[in-house]
């Protein structure tokens, strides 16, 4: 990609589109598969003098950290070789890696909880993939439809709030603003820039991503403490 287009900024943009779709999908699949594959061994571990939460959160972190590490190293090493440290785009690139890491943690967390709650492996796997599908594709479709249906009304606040409820959309917007292409987003882009671009805005959006990460972990802890094995 870097050979074809020497602009780092454009490469980061292309990567962002790929990462924002694929990283959640991979996080979802690995999260669900790992839970079901290690289920019987987990039952053995439950009879040991260990806290239940240590077992489950440990397994979740194992998946989330490995995925984030492979993303960071897999993307980082080629960019470093290309000369990332000499480029002013290093901050955009770091933002991309940070968002990728968040998405890995968020989606492996969500799918882990889904797998924990569903005894039936096929159901669990399907629900997890559906959640990804909803967040990655269907959500945007619904959003567009509502924009069209309600286009007489001022929709800036609505678009702002709607983007918050989807970590994928949130990450995309944060990245686009950083890359300064928000001019393409038109009026809504200006609203976003006004909100997200400001320091308070970016802090709030980071905070929401943290919430998206942390809430599944709490649900995991709660559900695992009540479950019968």
């Amino acid at each position: 990609m870097l050979f074809i287009n020497p602009s780092l900024s454009k490469a980061i943009l292309t990567l962002m589109n790929v990462i924002i779709m694929l990283v959640p999908l991979i996080g979802t699949i690995f999260g669900v598969m790992y839970y079901y594959n290690s289920k019987e061994f987990t039952e053995l571990l439950l009879a040991l003098p260990i806290k239940r939460s240590s077992i489950f959160i440990g397994q979740y972190l194992g998946v989330a950290i490995s995925l984030s590490l492979s993303l960071t190293l897999g993307l980082g090493i080629p960019f470093i070789i290309y000369g990332l440290f000499q480029s002013p785009d290093i901050w955009e690139f770091s933002q991309l890696l940070l968002l990728g890491t968040f998405l890995s943690f968020i989606f492996s967390g969500i799918s882990y909880v889904v797998a924990l709650v569903n005894e039936n492996r096929i159901k669990g796997f399907s629900y997890a993939i559906l959640i990804w599908l909803f967040m990655a594709i269907i959500y945007d479709g619904l959003f567009l439809i509502s924009l069209v249906m309600f286009d007489e009304y001022p929709l800036d606040k609505f678009s702002l709030i709607a983007s918050v409820f989807n970590p994928i959309d949130l990450s995309r917007i944060m990245m686009l603003l950083k890359l300064d292409i928000s001019a393409l987003l038109g009026y809504t882009g200006a609203v976003f820039k006004k909100f997200f671009g400001s320091n308070l805005g970016s802090m709030i959006s980071m905070g929401i991503l943290v919430l998206w990460t942390v809430v599944p972990i709490f649900i995991l802890k709660y559900k695992s403490s009540k479950k019968d094995f």
């Binding site: 039952e43 260990i50 239940r52």
Partner: protein
């Protein structure tokens, strides 16, 4: 001492344990028997904290098992079928479990030699036969010298020699003054090993006493027939 007080557990609409009251204060081997669905495995899993009861309590040496995990340091558990991570070698598994139980200094070589596992130590667990995995399981159960040992169908998958070694291990632990709970469908094994029988029927303790007392009560000469007699009440 294991105290089970008024234990109730239901899975959905199925009431499995309907008020189990059981106190095991002595050392020795206790066999938990009963027809399928009587709650044997549920009772054992409740003691281990794997199943969370709807009401009632379980005390191990006076400590409640609810929201507690330290009491499990005193318990060694042999599950009926153990599934280990396929990529670990036997050696790595032992190291990991010893580390998890914070007993890294223990030496398992005596158990390994006795069970003939020495040649398997570097093999991956996914490549072992069922019987060999069960032997690995046995080592993990007896290695930690726990005061309470719970064995769920321990004879599963064991060849006759391993079975004799298992009996030897159980006798040894008995000498050391341990309390051993086991479930089994193999009546000859139960008659050989058990000091006391706890017979569960429809979620309650139906009979508790020695094998001899059971034979007397049911009027049967043979232990197997005595148990069958008790089981018949379920089929009627």
């Amino acid at each position: 001492m294991i105290e089970v007080k008024n234990l109730y557990k239901k899975f959905g609409k199925n009431e499995v344990l309907k008020g189990i009251d059981l106190t095991i204060a002595d050392k020795g081997v206790f066999a938990v028997l009963g027809p399928n669905g009587s709650g044997k495995t549920t009772l054992i899993k409740s003691i281990l904290g794997m199943v969370i009861p709807n009401s009632g309590e379980i005390l191990i040496d006076g400590e409640s098992t609810l929201n507690n995990w330290q009491y499990r340091e005193k318990i060694g558990y042999l599950p009926q079928i153990a599934n280990f991570p396929v990529n670990l070698t036997v050696k790595e598994l032992f190291k990991m479990i010893k580390d998890l139980r914070q007993s890294s200094s223990l030496d398992e070589s005596r158990y390994i030699e006795k069970l003939g596992l020495t040649s398997h130590m570097s093999k991956k667990l996914g490549n072992l036969s069922g019987g060999t995995k069960q032997k690995v399981n046995l080592v993990l159960t007896f290695l930690f010298d726990s005061p309470y040992i719970i064995l769920d169908e321990p004879t599963t998958g064991l060849d006759p020699i391993a079975l004799l070694i298992l009996k030897e291990f159980i006798e040894e632990e008995k000498e050391k003054g341990k309390t051993i709970l086991l479930t089994s469908h193999i009546m000859s094994f139960v008659e050989d090993m058990a000091d006391e029988i706890v017979f569960l029927l429809e979620g309650k303790v139906y009979f508790r006493g020695s094998a001899a007392a059971l034979k007397e009560q049911t009027g049967e000469v043979d232990f197997e027939h005595a148990i069958a007699n008790l089981l018949k009440t379920q089929y009627v």
